[in-house]
C-alpha cells in the first residue's frame, strides 16, 4: 500500500533537510522526544480517570443502553453503533475519545473495520471545546458569536466523512 510509504517519506524528507541545513539532528530529535515524554506524562492522569469512567460506563451496561436508544437514528445514517459515543465525546475530551477508541479496539480487534472507522474519526478532528476555551480565554472574550455552531458543523462533517469513506474504501 502507498500509505505505508507516507511515514518513511516524511522522515526521509525532514532528516535530509535537517542535515542539509547543518542542524544537530540527533540532539534536536532527543529534545523533541523529551517533549513527547512530557506530553504522555501530562495526559496519563486524565487517561487513567477517563478509561476507568468509560470502563465502568461500559461494564454497567449504560453505554449499550444509550447506543441502543440512538440505534434508530444511527441505523438510518449507516453509522456503526459502537462509534456513536465518539460524536459526543470527541469535541469535549481528547483523552476521553482515546479511551473510547481503546475500548472499541478491545471489543472488536485491532484490524476490524469498526476500529478503523473509529480511529479515522478520532484522528480527523481536534478537541473543539478545549481549543475554544484556550484561545478565547487568552483574550478574555465570552461572546464567541457563531464559533461553537461553526466548530460543531466542522466536527460533524469530518466525522461523517470519516465514517462514509472508511466504511466504503477502508
Amino acid at each position: 500500500m502507498y500509505a505505508s510509504m507516507i511515514i518513511p517519506a516524511v522522515m526521509l524528507l525532514i532528516i535530509s533537510v535537517g542535515l542539509i541545513q547543518r542542524q544537530p539532528v540527533f540532539t534536536l530529535f532527543c529534545d523533541g522526544a523529551k517533549e513527547g515524554l512530557h506530553t504522555m506524562y501530562s495526559i496519563a492522569p486524565s487517561l487513567i480517570g477517563l478509561i476507568t469512567a468509560i470502563g465502568m460506563f461500559k461494564a454497567s451496561g449504560v453505554l449499550d443502553f444509550l447506543t441502543s436508544l440512538l440505534l434508530p437514528v444511527t441505523a438510518l445514517a449507516d453509522i456503526p453503533e459502537q462509534v456513536t459515543p465518539l460524536f459526543f465525546l470527541k469535541p469535549i475530551s481528547g483523552s476521553g475519545s482515546l479511551a473510547i477508541l481503546n475500548n472499541i479496539i478491545n471489543e472488536n480487534g485491532a484490524d476490524s473495520i469498526v476500529t478503523k472507522i473509529a480511529s479515522v474519526m478520532t484522528g480527523s478532528t481536534e478537541t473543539t471545546f478545549y481549543c475554544i476555551a484556550v484561545y478565547y480565554g487568552a483574550v478574555r472574550i465570552n461572546k464567541t458569536g457563531c464559533t461553537i455552531p461553526c466548530a460543531l458543523i466542522g466536527d460533524f462533517a469530518g466525522m461523517m466523512t470519516a465514517i462514509i469513506l472508511t466504511s466504503r474504501f477502508g
Partner: protein, 197 residues
C-alpha cells in the same frame, strides 16, 4: 464541562449496575481500568516520542517556516482584511503549520499570540470575524501524521496502522472546509456578530 460528565458517568454507572444486576462486571472494570490506562500510556509512549523528535527537527531546520510560506496565499484568502506583513498574519500561518505537523506545544502559544494581535484591532467586546476563523482553523485542524491514534493502533497489534492516514486526511480536510464555509456564511449573514451572550 468535563468534570460534570466524568462525575455523572461514574454515578450513573454505579446506579445503573445495581438496577441492571451488573455489579460484578462493574467492580472488575474499576479494578482493571487504571492498570490498563497505564499500560496504554507506556505502550504509546515510544511512537509519540519518536514523532515529537522528528517534528522538532522539522521545526528547527526551517521545514515548518517553508510550509507556512506555501500556505500564506490560502490564509490570505481566509483573512482578507489582515495586513499580509503584520504579526497577526505571520503568527496565524505558523500556528496552522505547527498544527499540521502535530506540534501541539508550539501551535498553542502561536495561536494565542495571533488572538492577542487580533484583539488589539477588535473594537467590540465580541469575537471578531478573524478570531472566529482562527479558532475554527484550530478546532478542525488537519494533522499530517495522527501520532496518538497510530501509536494506539500499533500497540494494540494492528497490522497496518498507517492505512488510516489517507482517510484521516480526507476526513479532516472535509471538516476544515465545512467549518470555514460555515464561518463565511454565518458572519456574512449576521453582519453584527454579537447575538449570543
Amino acid at each position: 464541562m468535563l468534570p460534570y460528565i466524568w462525575g455523572a458517568m461514574i454515578i450513573i454507572s454505579v446506579v445503573f449496575s445495581v438496577l441492571n444486576n451488573t455489579q460484578e462486571q462493574l467492580n472488575a472494570a474499576v479494578l482493571d481500568s487504571a492498570g490498563e490506562a497505564v499500560e496504554l500510556v507506556i505502550s504509546m509512549c515510544g511512537t509519540v516520542c519518536l514523532w515529537s523528535g522528528i517534528m522538532e527537527i522539522a521545526d528547527k531546520s526551517g521545514v515548518t517556516k517553508f510550509v507556512s510560506k506555501l500556505l500564506s496565499p490560502i490564509t490570505g484568502k481566509l483573512f482578507p482584511s489582515l495586513d499580509k506583513k503584520g504579526d497577526a498574519f505571520r503568527a496565524i500561518n505558523m500556528n496552522i503549520t505547527a498544527n499540521l505537523f502535530g506540534l501541539g506545544n508550539a501551535a498553542t502559544p502561536l495561536g494565542i499570540k495571533a488572538m492577542q494581535c487580533l484583539q488589539k484591532e477588535n473594537v467590540s467586546s465580541c469575537a471578531s470575524r478573524d478570531m472566529i476563523m482562527l479558532v475554527i482553523l484550530n478546532t478542525t485542524s488537519v494533522q499530517l501524521i495522527p501520532t496518538m491514534i497510530l501509536s494506539l493502533l500499533q500497540s494494540a497489534g494492528c497490522s497496518d496502522p498507517s492505512g488510516i492516514i489517507p482517510f484521516t486526511w480526507a476526513a479532516s480536510v472535509t471538516g476544515l472546509v465545512c467549518g470555514v464555509i460555515s464561518v463565511m456564511i454565518f458572519t456574512k449573514r449576521e453582519g453584527k456578530l454579537c447575538t449570543r451572550r
